[in-house]
Homo-oligomer: 406 residues x 2
């Protein structure tokens, strides 16, 4: 990658102009760097005449979140583009469209989704996305099924697993999600107001054992090609459209990690809805969030089961009882990983705006305590769960406990 | 690999003569092709003067077992040589010494172990190897621990996983061990005398579910670098020495697959000891075999646990309760895979000489039924097992049942 260098806006514009059959030769292009992430430059390039636009995403060789001292492989741009290609083939309507990939520059060119909004932002603004559960469950069912031993040739899957070996980005997950929050790590970042609860978590060895078992799955269980970072900041939405972006954490891992991630992020927004607005609207929005979270699992279950019944490549997976066993395990993994995703967003390095932007300190504390309570319970109960209704119960019980100041 | 061709004895000799610092320039070399396997040429080359010798193993681009029509990747020679290098580094005394690897010719050069005997042959001759359990448990503990997330850098492990992706040889295992024996496959090969029991196995859906769960681990669970084919034909022994050979099936899989393989092959020899010799010697040899099989687990458990306590790279794996959970799961996997390994050697394509060479038809049938009964029970009980003593009980109970003609 000797020709690699971080692009200037001028260079990005020149590159975009050379895209085949995209902009008119005499187009007047404008360019803005709009990246607010930690790892990449993101250029928005638009033809001022036609309005046509494109996104150039360039991986940086370091993580900005901790300065330039945390080097990070540029190979993640290849992984992202290859994952987008796989997901786009399986879910063309639900994946941001990949236009080009330039390995020398670690540069991914993709469609501009400026008419969409990042879902986390939409939820913070109290918006509803009535098709989201339908869409994301479809994305999950199809991408996970068709990249697994169930839905693709098992030898090709092994070769594909090799292409998606992603040690450095997996390491970020392993540290920030499965390690730091459970110990007094310097990477942690939490409000002093909840130190008592955080310290309880550091001492909770029953919780640690469950986290270890989930982490072991993350480390060893190559079930399917995961998105690997499927939170509400990785999804662009409108009321009628859903587009998944940013699969740079993609690797072969346990399916429940993706399903759990999206559910956890809805529950984090749910936790933010405690005590700080009044009236029927709030209860209604909580109910919308919870219903969406459970509906994602329910629709995922139906769709994944249908693929199993209709598109199974693995003849042996039709063995009686196997599907039921598999789906139950997948629910348990989903719930366990969802719990881990919630805890890390309160104690660990990287928080969510849903909770961090709550202006009132005591309400914010309540939200953080609720998120931790739900997360902990999901982790502790994951191996004994048999139905998504139990998750509903857990969430509502913890909400009531926090509201009643228990 | 354009220069690849199957070597003649003359070419093999010429190659061996060019090995640096091995044979004297004027050595009078003899060469014999001694391969009796299905996949490779094996040349034994010796200096008639000094007696010094070497083995050249060349992968063939097809499997002989079903004629030249079953093509097989030559990349397995690379995998074998790389696995030998890893195992040799971890267990230099217990692994055949790798001398050279020639990718163009898919050729592995290794030390000659003609002073050893293949363990299966030794067991068939009724010999005992008092150090075998000690040695093989050491090989298993060290190779599995130090290639896993417990004993090596977790990011290097991911890269190593990529180097050992081995789709074609895994496919042989997936078909011959986890698929064919449980259905009326044309690959199967079994004596008509036991057709009733074989057909019962084809109908036993509770058994099939357990096999599916074990197969899922084989397909998805990358715990450690396995030997992948650790039967008694992959071990050279003397009374005082043990050398593991032939890791061409190496890949990242579930640890219990290796531990179970070697135990299964001792139990297959045990099953051969039914009814066809009389007297105290037979009972004593059975007891030796059973004691060796259980001792392998017990010593493996002690050694693996010690490595965990003393050489853990993964700080988090010291979480209270995790080791106990891990070791129990490993025992259950070991027992389940051991059962699968037994069943396939009676019903599937590739049998073991321990049982196939029994001259008397009714005794042979008894041995086959005993092996199936033990194998089935180990598979069915694997998920509820808590101790290796239960395996001992299962084997002895099944032996008594067969002996009493139940």
């Amino acid at each position: 990658m000797s020709s690699y260098h971080a692009l200037s806006e001028q260079e990005a514009t020149a590159y975009a102009r050379r895209l085949p059959d995209f902009f008119a030769p005499d187009a007047e292009l404008s360019c803005r760097e709009i990246g607010d992430g930690n790892l990449n430059l993101v250029f928005h390039i638009q033809d001022q005449g036609s309005g046509k636009s494109v996104i150039l995403k360039q991986a940086l060789p370091y993580a900005k979140v901790v300065g330039e001292s945390w080097p990070l492989t540029l190979d993640r741009a290849r992984i992202e583009s290859e994952a987008l290609a796989v997901q786009g083939r399986l879910c063309p309507e639900l994946t941001v469209r990949l236009i080009a990939y330039e390995p020398e520059l670690a540069l991914t060119v993709m469609e501009d989704l400026s008419d969409h909004v990042i879902m986390r932002r939409g939820l913070i603004e109290g918006r509803r996305y009535p098709h989201f559960a339908e869409h994301i469950s479809e994305f999950l069912a199809r991408t996970l099924f068709f990249t697994s031993d169930l839905g693709m040739n098992q030898q090709e899957k092994k070769i594909q697993t090799g292409r998606f070996i992603n040690p450095e980005l997996c390491k970020i997950t392993e540290d920030l999600i499965f390690d730091d929050p459970y110990t007094d790590s310097e990477n942690n970042s939490f409000d002093e107001a909840i130190r008592d609860e955080v310290e309880r978590i550091w001492q909770d060895s029953a919780l640690h054992l469950e986290v270890m078992l989930l982490r072991q799955k993350f480390l060893t269980e190559g079930q399917a090609l995961l998105h690997g970072d499927l939170h509400t900041g990785s999804v662009f939405v409108t009321e009628t459209s859903t587009k998944v972006i940013d699969p740079e954490f993609a690797y072969y891992g346990p399916m429940g990690f993706d399903v759990g991630a999206i559910i956890a992020n809805l529950l984090l927004n749910y936790a933010a809805q405690t005590g700080w607005k009044e009236g029927a609207d709030l209860a209604d929005y909580r109910s919308y969030l919870l219903q969406t979270a459970t509906s994602i699992w329910e629709q995922f279950h139906v769709k994944f089961s249908s693929l199993w019944d209709e598109q199974l490549v693995d003849r042996m997976a039709a063995t009686p009882g196997y599907k039921e066993h598999y789906m139950k395990q997948l629910l348990q993994d989903t719930v366990g990983f969802a719990g881990c995703k919630m805890v890390r967003r309160i104690i660990g390095l990287s928080h969510v705006a849903d909770i961090d932007t709550i202006p009132d300190a005591s309400r914010k504390e309540k939200a953080q305590r609720l998120a931790l309570a739900i997360g902990k319970t999901l982790i502790k109960r994951n191996r004994s769960l048999a139905s998504i209704d139990e998750v509903l119960d857990i969430v509502q019980t913890q909400w009531s406990a926090i509201e009643q100041g228990k």
